[in-house]
């Protein structure tokens, strides 16, 4: 009774103070936050003499950002919505960044210095298509300037100051696609050129101030026009035909159009293949890129053109950069081995060639953006922003890489954890010890001052700096507490990075796909990564390694490949192109004699291929084969199927290939249910205790099975987003399915609920988040599963007499009676990702990690989601720490593990245990990365950093002094007694 009371008391104590909360000066002690932008697709330089030099970029991850051109730091960044891809960016009035997004339907202006959105205009475009933005240079009504957005056959002129649509003109011609807008200098007329159904060329004269149509003309084209054009002067442009081998020179003087066909092979010798036009601005020069070279062509007089420059080997060509009235420059970049040659051509002539060494893990050059600056001797210097194959961004100037950003990390698709090497034994010199002791004492004196609130701001800064540069946490060796680990991540570009948990630095990085690129593997892409070998008793001497699995082409039937990579160094140990396809990789809880984990690769014909290939691995697998099961969720068909393995496969006779045999299937009625989410327990989760003691001394046994699969289905009408279904036609059904037998353990229907569903399964419970249409709020439901068949093991006599079934193996073959308890709560926010904390031994209470719509990660204690809660808990229940039932889950700001940071576009949360039972690592990723360590029940097994050793020392000293004083006093008193 006492013990229980104490436990209750402790629980209450921990309830009253938040399980996770940090002081402001602890920021950065255990956590780090890295901000990225993603793969750059547009860049606009802003390099005026005054103010900061910056470059505004938009990325494939729908981010727009302003970067400092000196350092590459992010000055500001915004992440747009998922369906809001940026089409074009531009600068206006020298102080606003304009972004056209959502296929030309939304135009926004951002303040250049601080990134505040100034205005937003919905252009109300009826059929969004390819559209473009043209910032007019010199139509000024007052201080305003206009920006034109052309979409198909309509033009909208938007004021740059307030975003109001000044005029709009729908040319209402079927099939018209406007291609370009010209504005002759000092004129109020703009010329809009477009193609009608790729056979007619149309020209419109429009008053720039009112949008009035002044004149229009059309002319048939002599070739079929493709969509690529290049404007070469104020009255002519070049277009490419659909066969991509002929050019069409179009001139439109005084309202008439003339066009002239020019076969490319006449201009460029040895032309073959498909050509590409690089957008240019003026100067009668245009650039054609062919598969083998880049040609710079000048238009002379009437319909005559001349090749003025040629760069052999096709490289990546930048857009044109206008230097002066006469000159325009292009950058041509070639890549060879581990160097890139950067060439600037002014009017086709080679002006500058630089060779720059580059780390070979960056791959090929993908895009280049050119910018110039004026040197002190008035000559032009050039800098270029280069986007590499691994999505990293480099700024190059004067033959050097000024800065580089690893923006590939903005698109992490998978992550695993690996151990660091063991520290080597070695003597530590006495001087070092003395030095560190002194430092240690100094540090603690400072800390004591901090606690006593005696410290000056300087001291505070010193404490902070001391915390941050503590070398202990950044060592490249394994530590006793398991705080230092490697997080190995895979990005969309196929690059693998190893990040150190201490400060998030990149330990090694490798772009593996170029190693494979060959005839047999045309376009390799990495799908997933797994731990291949983890340090274990037998394999302590061998380096841990990682398995990477991918496929050679885009289709699901293309051949797979696998890499085995050393996780200390990133060295590739083994490369293999497989002779079968890859549908799924199933890690097995088995290992061969050299501690390599067994994996089954399931191909698209449902054959299972065993890896690693070795006789002992085969032996281990065959022995356990009868107990191995596999299930497959077929989202499109609304079916879940379970399989067993059998010897001999359908495609080959390899000993490592196994066939599958269908055991069961769960078919959901497709007219009333759609699978929207599935979740299962982590394979490596540790459960500490199976029993749960209730308030009335009763014992409940948790139903713990690794084969529980949570499946959520919604009604077809509710499969869309919120706002698309009425409460009456929406329902959500949650299933718990045993994946060995296909038995449905539990089924519950939530009427008036719909997705998106996010679920997490752990121990004997599942928590899922969905939207309740009736209350119009988000809800979270917890289901706990208990094993009823063991419920009568409470009798002590039975235990003594051995009449219990506690030692009976738990098996999915039997049909255990299970009981479920569940409870639902409202939850304020939308959820992007959900996970649960995992600790080394599973003793520490669990927290649910919720990635909210605000890109923060909230740690919610599991006891808030307890089905045993009642509105008025009894005294006993209170003692046990059961809190009264509330309808809403509390959101305490201090329990955000990300505190004031946001993980832009949050996509995943990962929790992995430290060696210390109380502590768990949390790694969350989106465009940004955030890592921290949390202790869900506080650090009960170690002293915190907050612990003041000096205070302890002082207490001990005071105690000793006091003992001495009292001893002396008692001696004196004794003496006096005796004299009396």
């Amino acid at each position: 009774m006492e013990a229980r009371f104490l436990l209750g008391f402790l629980l209450l104590l921990s309830l009253s103070s938040f399980a996770f909360a940090i002081y402001e000066d602890q920021v950065g002690l255990a956590d780090w936050h890295k901000r990225y932008i993603g793969k750059v697709k547009h860049a606009v330089f802003h390099t005026q003499k005054t103010g900061r030099r910056r470059v505004v970029v938009s990325t494939e991850e729908n981010a727009i950002a302003s970067l400092d051109l000196r350092t590459g730091d992010i000055l500001w960044r915004h992440v747009l919505g998922k369906n809001d891809a940026v089409d074009q960016i531009g600068l206006s009035l020298g102080k606003y960044v304009l972004t056209l997004s959502s296929q030309g339907s939304v135009l926004r202006a951002w303040n250049l210095p601080d990134g505040q959105m100034v205005w937003e205009t919905d252009l109300q475009i009826s059929n969004p298509s390819n559209s473009f933005l043209h910032v007019l240079g010199n139509v000024k009504s007052g201080r305003d300037s206009l920006s034109l957005v052309c979409n198909g056959g309509s033009i909208r002129a938007v004021s740059s100051i307030d975003g109001l649509v000044v005029w709009k003109k729908d040319l209402s011609v079927d099939g018209l696609k406007l291609k370009h807008v010209f504005q002759p200098p000092e004129s109020d007329t703009i010329y809009a050129i477009g193609f009608i159904d790729s056979s007619l060329i149309a020209l419109y004269h429009i008053n720039a101030k009112t949008g009035e149509l002044l004149k229009h003309a059309t002319q048939a084209s002599s070739v079929d026009l493709s969509s690529e054009i290049s404007a070469i002067s104020s009255d002519s442009l070049v277009a490419l035909d659909t066969s991509r081998s002929n050019l069409l020179l179009i001139k439109f003087m005084a309202g008439t159009i003339t066009n002239h066909k020019l076969p490319l092979s006449d201009i460029v010798q040895d032309f073959s293949g498909l050509a590409e036009l690089i957008p240019t601005k003026s100067n009668d020069i245009f650039v054609v890129k062919t598969p083998s070279n880049v040609a710079f062509i000048k238009v002379k007089g009437d319909n005559e053109i001349e090749l003025i420059g040629k760069a052999d080997e096709a490289g990546i060509v930048s857009d044109s950069l206008i230097l002066s009235e006469e000159e325009q420059a292009f950058a041509v970049v070639h890549h060879s081995n581990n160097a890139i040659s950067f060439q600037v051509r002014i009017n086709g002539r080679e002006a500058l060639t630089e060779g720059i060494k580059i780390e070979d893990h960056r791959g090929h050059v993908k895009r280049v953006f050119l910018n110039n600056y004026v040197r002190t001797d008035k000559s032009h210097g050039f800098r270029a922003l280069i986007v590499m194959e691994d999505e990293s961004l480099l700024l190059m100037q004067q033959g050097e890489v000024v800065w580089s950003r690893e923006d590939g990390l903005a698109s992490i698709s998978d992550a695993v954890v690996a151990e660091l090497p063991v520290e080597k034994e070695g003597g530590v010199s006495v001087v070092e010890v003395e030095h560190t002791l002194l430092e240690w004492l100094k540090g603690h004196m400072l800390k004591l001052k901090g606690t006593l609130m005696l410290s000056t701001p300087d001291d505070m800064a010193a404490i902070q700096a001391m915390h941050l540069k503590s070398t202990e946490r950044n060592k490249m060796t394994r530590d006793h507490n398991g705080f230092r680990k490697l997080i190995i991540v895979l990005t969309q570009s196929g690059k693998v990075y190893a990040l150190h948990t201490g400060d998030g630095r990149i330990v090694w990085a490798h772009l593996l796909t170029p190693l494979l690129q060959s005839e047999s593997c045309p376009s390799p892409s990495v799908l997933t990564l797994r731990n291949w070998r983890v340090p274990h008793r037998k394999a302590l001497q061998e380096n841990p390694s990682i398995l990477l699995v991918g496929r050679c082409g885009a289709g699901p039937e293309s051949h797979g490949f696998l890499f085995i990579v050393d996780s200390y160094s990133g060295k590739v140990l083994e490369t293999q192109i497989l002779d079968h396809s890859i549908a799924e990789v199933v890690p097995l809880p088995l290992a061969d004699s050299s501690e390599q984990k067994l994996h089954l690769v399931i191909d698209d014909k449902l054959n299972a291929h065993l890896y690693p290939r070795g006789s002992d691995a085969l032996e281990v697998f065959v022995r356990e084969m009868a107990n191995m099961y596999y299930y497959k969720v077929e989202n499109a068909k609304e079916v879940i199927k379970g399989y067993a393995f059998k010897k001999g496969c359908s495609t080959g006779s390899s000993a490592y290939c196994f066939g599958t045999r269908e055991l069961w299937s769960v078919v959901f009625p497709s007219d009333s249910e759609r699978i929207v989410a599935t979740a299962r327990r982590k394979i490596n989760e540790v459960v500490h205790t199976q029993a749960k003691i209730m308030t009335n001394q009763d014992v409940m046994y948790k139903y713990i099975s690794k084969n529980i699969l949570f499946v959520a289905t919604v009604s077809p009408k509710a499969a869309g987003g919120i706002g698309s279904a009425a409460p009456d036609e929406a329902w959500l059904v949650a299933y718990l399915i045993d994946t060995v037998t296909g038995r449905i353990l539990h089924r519950v229907t939530h009427q008036g609920a719909q997705g998106p569903v996010h679920a997490v399964v752990s121990e004997n419970w599942v928590v899922y988040h969905y939207f309740n249409l009736r209350a119009h709020r988000y809800e979270m439901t917890v289901i706990e599963i208990y094993d009823q068949s063991r419920a009568d093991n409470k009798d002590v006599m039975k235990l003594v007499l051995g009449k219990h079934n506690l030692t009976a193996p738990i098996t999915s073959y039997s049909r255990p009676e299970i009981a479920t308890k569940s409870q639902s709560y409202f939850f304020t926010h939308s959820v992007k990702a959900i996970a649960v904390t995992t600790t080394a031994r599973g003793i520490t209470s669990k927290q649910i990690l919720i990635g909210t719509i605000g890109d923060q990660v909230l740690a919610l204690d599991k006891w808030y989601l307890d089905p045993r809660q009642t509105a008025n808990p009894s005294q006993e229940e209170k003692e046990e720490g059961i809190i009264p039932l509330t309808d809403t889950l509390p959101i305490i700001p201090q329990s955000y593990v990300t505190h004031t940071r946001q993980v832009g576009d949050l996509r995943g949360i990962m929790s992995f245990p430290a060696n210390l039972e109380s502590t768990t690592h949390v790694f969350s990723y989106g465009i940004d990365l955030f890592y921290t360590r949390i202790a869900p029940s506080r650090t009960y097994d170690s002293l915190t950093d907050e612990f003041s050793y000096v205070l302890l020392l002082i207490t001990v000293v005071v105690l000793i002094v006091a003992i001495l004083v009292t001893w002396a006093m008692s001696q004196k008193k004794d003496l006096q007694e005796k004299w009396r």
């Binding site: 938040f18 909360a21 940090i22 002081y23 402001e24 000066d25 920021v27 500001w76 915004h78 919505g81 998922k82 369906n83 809001d84 926004r108 601080d114 990134g115 505040q116 959105m117 100034v118 205005w119 937003e120 919905d122 109300q124 009826s126 006593l452 609130m453 987003g721 919120i722 706002g723 698309s724 009425a726 998106p756 939207f771 249409l773 119009h776 709020r777 304020t828 926010h829 939308s830 992007k832 719509i853 605000g854 890109d855 923060q856 809403t888 959101i891 700001p893 201090q894 955000y896 505190h899 004031t900 946001q902 205070l951 302890l952 002082i954 207490t955 005071v958 105690l959 006091a962 009292t966």
Partner: protein, 207 residues
């Protein structure tokens, strides 16, 4: 806990008062099949921490999200935001801000009555006359360090140790003074005879 709920209550009161003072219309205009939702995020009552003059840097980080991520928009310097081309139905608007906690808002766009928009906070089911979104509270992400006080020092384990020692040193002798000298002597003699009384002796003596 109680204090915070009282605080929230106060904030609601403030919000409701400010709503009466600042009537801003929630605009709804039909364009094609969709409607527009326009509203305002208002932080006026919340400039507590002194973010400086002009638009606070926090406002530029404020996003407004429709239906859990279907669409995202940003807030203008004056706090206004809008969504266009939203179909009739019941929608959810959330405000994402690092500095403040906002209640999600349920927005009903009537299909029968084009242009009629009703809004209500989902957290407390309070209807909004205008779509003016105000924070429920500002977020304190950090535990506040309690200022140094004698009490906290005394409460710490070390403090308790010292306290107990002081008690033993000064209070016990005083208690001893209260004991009858005769009895004291007797006890001392007894102690001399039997040595220090052990626990087993005590137990035996009691039974």
């Amino acid at each position: 806990m109680e204090r915070s709920s009282a605080l929230i209550g106060l904030i609601f009161l403030l919000i409701s008062i400010s709503c009466l003072i600042n009537p801003i219309s929630a605009a709804a205009s039909g364009s094609g099949e969709g409607y527009s939702i326009a509203g305002r995020v208002k932080l006026d009552n919340f400039v507590t921490k002194g973010f400086g003059l002009g638009h606070s840097p926090k406002l530029s980080e404020t996003k407004v999200i429709l239906n859990g991520g279907q669409r995202t928009t940003f807030v203008r310097p004056d706090g206004y935001f809008s969504f266009h081309d939203v179909p009739a139905g019941t929608h959810l608007i959330e405000v994402s801000s690092i500095s403040y906690l906002f209640s999600p808002v349920r927005v009903d766009i009537s299909a029968r009555n084009p242009g009629k928009i009703q809004a209500a906070l989902t957290e407390n089911r309070r209807a909004l006359n205008e779509l003016v979104l105000e924070p429920m509270k500002d977020e304190q992400y950090y535990e506040i360090r309690e200022p140094f006080s004698m009490l906290s020092l005394v409460k710490s384990p070390m403090g308790l140790m010292i306290g107990f020692m002081v008690l033993v040193m000064f209070v016990f002798p005083k208690m001893m003074d209260g004991v009858d000298p005769e009895e004291m002597r007797q006890a001392q003699e007894q102690m001399r005879e039997h040595g220090i009384p052990s626990i087993s002796n005590l137990v035996a003596g009691r039974s």
